[in-house]
């Protein structure tokens, strides 16, 4: 009656072995490492770079334990932090500005474990130290900018089409265009409808004036806000690269917020400066008449900038247009050649300036330069084919679709990013992080020992089996968290402790039930069987109510609470498995084979 078929034992054994393998990496600790990432997606970390890194380390006589190419980056592990710091300085000099050379802590687990994708849990900022920022994107500013731009564009459209109007004004989210008579309005409406598909138009008559009201359509409003957040994410990513953080997290949270997590960063002042900086974009003319001097100096009135490929171009100092005049940049295709292209739209003033500049410079090249941290880089340098009016500009030729997307994003990111504000900051110093780990670990350890001693004393053999089941629960929970690469935080550690404390409930229920059945006078074998059977429904019910609380916490919790909720939910699942199946398997192994069992050790 109390025997499992062989496959069931094997299955449980297999689960436990898998649990053990995936828990194992957490015990090897971490070794200090230097991580090298290319700054741009177009440059790849490859074997050649690996060779360069290895050679550089060898000539400087810095011994690395392991230098590997992993995914998009090269990781060099060192025995101590002293070597690590030296290697970082060396590699930074050696590789130049095109690479991010960051300090990192990497798992020291052996390679055969890594091959199973058995990786240690990822430690949260409160355990490893670092900065967490929550930034709020100013959506109103993004909309204001779009509406302001539309106001100017409506004016220039009407002027271009020679439609008489007496004024364009903006009240909040409402644009009002006033016309002198109904026919003018009708003509205006046709034109505006064609060009401003994002706006809904309504005709109105007010004190003898013919008015056309334009409001932004909800879907267009949504799109503007969405793209504002996307641009800001991109800008932030570019900037965080400069900070040299190995594993930054930059994510959208909710509609209008961005989370930035920088593990290991201590200099919060610099981090804030870099995140808060605004990039500027400038359009200037390329000077192709002069050559770059042999001494490397630029001729009078020009400056040298590099483009993405690293070619140097001479660019005039005079600024044709600044980034504020660019309303939008979208990737697309040339309508004639169907080549990849970037479509720019300029505001009214920008359109006029651009028209004048292009008329004077047909056949020459212009350069769009992105300035960040006082350093300029040429995003693109197209040839001007003809005079361009109307504020619609297309940049095309020799461009892949990805490049068009990148360029459009860069142009927008430099020009349009809606203002952001830090609404939450959490910084944890490394010493506090280490303290948090040891506190969390110690309290779990002491709690576990107390429970183990009590259970063994109170329920004897069955208590000891319960403790084994609880240990299996801990093993499986940590294995599961490691497999999912969940981030372990202090609340998460509290969650592990709490689930262990609660998981023992199932075994107490079972043991109490067995005692009760024994008191009722049935044979030990039958009592064990009945105890497990009768307790099962109760265990399921009580775990499900717990699970409901865990899921609600997960859905509505933020940051630290979410981590706690994940552990709670997973812990409930593993505890069901271990307290029912694992403990039963052990009981079956110990007692199940004896045909004439007269007494069991249950205290």
């Amino acid at each position: 009656m109390n025997r499992y078929p062989l496959w069931k034992y094997l299955l449980i054994l297999a689960v436990l072995v898998a649990g053990f393998i995936y828990t194992l990496p957490n015990f090897f600790g971490e070794s200090p490492a230097v991580q090298i990432l290319p700054l741009r997606a177009s440059m790849k970390a490859d074997v050649a770079l690996l060779g360069r890194v290895e050679a550089a380390l060898k000539t400087a006589n810095l011994h690395a334990d392991r230098v590997t190419l992993e995914g998009a980056s090269i990781k060099a592990r060192f025995a101590d932090t002293d070597l690590q710091l030296k290697a970082k300085d060396l590699l930074k000099n050696e590789l130049g500005e095109d690479y991010v050379v960051a300090l990192n802590l990497l798992p020291r687990s052996p390679q055969w474990l890594t091959q199973f994708h058995a990786l240690p849990m990822y430690l949260g900022l409160d355990l490893r130290g670092g900065v967490h920022f929550l930034l709020q994107v100013d959506m109103k500013a993004a909309l204001d900018k779009a509406l302001e731009a539309a106001t100017g564009d409506i004016r220039s459209t009407l002027r271009e089409e020679n439609i008489a109007y007496s004024g364009v004004s903006r009240e909040g989210n409402l644009l009002q265009v006033k016309f002198r008579d109904a026919p003018a309005r009708a003509r205006g409406e046709v034109q505006l409808k064609q060009r401003f598909s994002d706006y809904a138009l309504i005709e109105k008559e007010l004190s003898g004036e013919f008015i056309l009201q334009a409001t932004l359509k909800p879907e267009a409003e949504h799109r503007i806000q969405e793209s504002a957040v996307q641009q800001n994410l991109l800008t932030l990513r570019n900037r965080v690269n400069e900070l040299g953080v190995a594993e930054p997290v930059i994510q959208q949270q909710g509609l209008d917020r961005v989370v930035v997590q920088l593990p290991g960063v201590q200099d919060t002042a610099r981090a804030k400066d870099i995140l808060g900086r605004t990039a500027t974009l400038e359009v200037r003319m390329v000077d192709d008449e002069h050559q770059v001097g042999t001494g490397g100096g630029a001729p009078f009135g020009t400056e040298m900038f590099k483009d993405k490929e690293g070619n140097t171009l001479l660019v005039k100092k005079q600024v044709m247009l600044t980034g504020e005049r660019i309303n939008d940049a979208q990737p697309g295709f040339d309508s004639r050649t169907s080549e990849a292209a970037v479509h720019l739209s300029l505001d009214g003033i920008g359109a006029r300036k651009f028209k004048d500049a292009t008329r004077e410079n047909v056949g020459k090249r212009m350069a769009i330069i992105l300035f960040e941290k006082g350093r300029g880089e040429i995003v693109t340098a197209p040839v001007i084919r003809e005079e361009i009016g109307g504020g619609r500009v297309q940049i095309s030729g020799k461009m892949s679709t990805e490049e068009a997307q990148d360029t459009a994003l860069l142009l927008r990111a430099g020009a349009l990013a809606a203002p952001m504000e830090i609404v939450e900051e959490r910084t944890v110093g490394p010493s506090l992080g280490a303290d948090n780990i040891s506190r969390g670990f110690n309290s779990t350890k002491i709690g576990f020992i107390l429970i183990a001693v009590f259970m063994a004393a109170y329920y004897m053999m069955f208590g000891s089996i319960s403790v084994l089941a609880l240990a299996a629960n801990l093993l499986l929970l940590i294995a599961l968290l490691s497999m999912l690469q969940a981030t372990l935080t202090l609340p998460g550690m509290a969650g592990i402790a709490l689930t262990l404390g609660m998981a023992i409930d199932s075994n107490v229920l079972i043991n109490e039930r067995i005692r009760e059945e024994l008191r009722n006078g049935i044979t030990p074998q039958a009592a064990i069987h009945a105890g497990y059977e009768n307790a099962f429904a109760t265990i399921v019910d009580s775990n499900i109510t717990n699970l409901i609380a865990g899921i609600a916490l997960f859905l509505f919790g933020s940051g630290p609470i979410k981590g706690f909720a994940v552990v709670l939910c997973l812990g409930i699942l593993t505890s069901m498995f271990s307290s029912v199946l694992v403990s039963r398997a052990i009981v079956n192994l110990v007692y199940g084979r004896r045909a004439r069992l007269t007494r069991v050790s249950i205290g």
Partner: protein, 310 residues
């Protein structure tokens, strides 16, 4: 070893009047303190800045206050945190004109006097974030309550769901009452603990309810009060032992987990204590009062009657 050898059922239900009175009084006290003193919301909810700094020797708090006053921060809460070398600085939102930059200003001010001061932790929370957290917390509480009532309704009967949730919300109010009375800081992690207690103490009621249902089937001739008394008595040993074990773990966190886990564990401790009480002495009397009966589980057999229809 066996701590609870109870031969006869304890007539819990006949004490119903007293236990209800006790829980009503505690409940009203909790509500009174909540209304009168209110919760001492932490920076997570109110917004503001909290900084933890570490000195190499015992810190002079008055001096820290003076230094901050010189940095145009006169109304700042400065206190020791854990040890005499650790200092906690709390700056309310309305004084904070610098936003996220404030922490740097404070560090510069402190480093003027003692360059060895080490920044351990900074938490800055803007006003909007706090408001969102309160809303989300309330939503989570609502969702947990509805989810539990719903589940117990399906699994048992609506009377069970309702009495369990009343008993457990009573626990939640009492935990909050404690936090209001002692003016302990109510932070995000305390909120997490409160919600976890809700799931955990419903657990307790479920175990008793399971027994009640089983007894309705087994003890055919017994009165409803006898059935409930028996169910509580039979599960009492398990109740005490389970909670004792959970409390061992929570106690370890309370004493060894450091400041961050202290109030989290405190909320759990209060929750565990009161959930023992409420599941036995609040949920069951309510169940009785709602008129639970055998028919709720054992449906009378339908008698097939032949009908003649026009």
């Amino acid at each position: 070893m066996e701590l609870f050898k109870i031969k006869q059922d304890i007539p819990f239900m006949s004490y119903g009047r007293y236990t209800t009175a006790i829980s009503l009084v505690t409940f009203l006290f909790a509500v009174f303190f909540l209304a009168h003193k209110g919760l001492n919301f932490g920076v997570d909810f109110t917004g503001g800045t909290v900084m933890e700094v570490h000195y190499t020797q015992a810190a002079d708090l008055t001096q820290v206050r003076e230094q901050l006053a010189q940095a145009a921060l006169p109304d700042v809460l400065v206190q020791n945190f854990g040890s005499s070398q650790d200092v906690l600085i709390q700056i309310p939102l309305k004084q904070n004109v610098a936003g996220a930059k404030l922490s740097e200003i404070v560090m510069v001010a402190l480093k003027n006097k003692d360059p060895r001061v080490e920044m351990r932790r900074v938490e800055f929370v803007g006003p909007q974030v706090g408001k969102d957290l309160i809303e989300n917390g309330a939503m989570a509480l609502l969702l947990v309550s509805l989810g539990i009532v719903g589940y117990l309704w399906v699994r048992f009967e609506w009377k069970f769901g309702l009495s369990a949730i009343i008993a457990n919300l009573h626990d939640v109010v009492i935990i909050l009452g404690f936090f209001a009375f002692f003016q302990w800081e109510f932070s995000l992690s305390v909120l997490a603990a409160v919600l976890a207690v809700l799931g955990y103490s419903v657990n307790e009621s479920v175990v008793v309810f399971d027994r009640i249902r089983e007894n309705f089937r087994k003890m055919r001739r017994a009165e409803v009060t006898e059935i409930i008394d028996n169910a509580i008595t039979r599960t009492m040993s398990r109740t005490i032992i389970t909670h004792g074990c959970t409390q061992m773990m929570v106690g370890a966190m309370l004493f060894l987990g450091g400041e961050t886990l202290h109030y989290f564990a405190m909320a759990l401790t209060i929750g565990i204590m009161f959930s023992i009480y409420s599941s036995v002495l609040v949920a069951s009397p309510i169940l009785l009062w709602l008129g639970v009966s055998r028919e709720d589980f054992i449906k009378p057999e339908k008698i097939e009657v032949e009908e003649v229809l026009p």
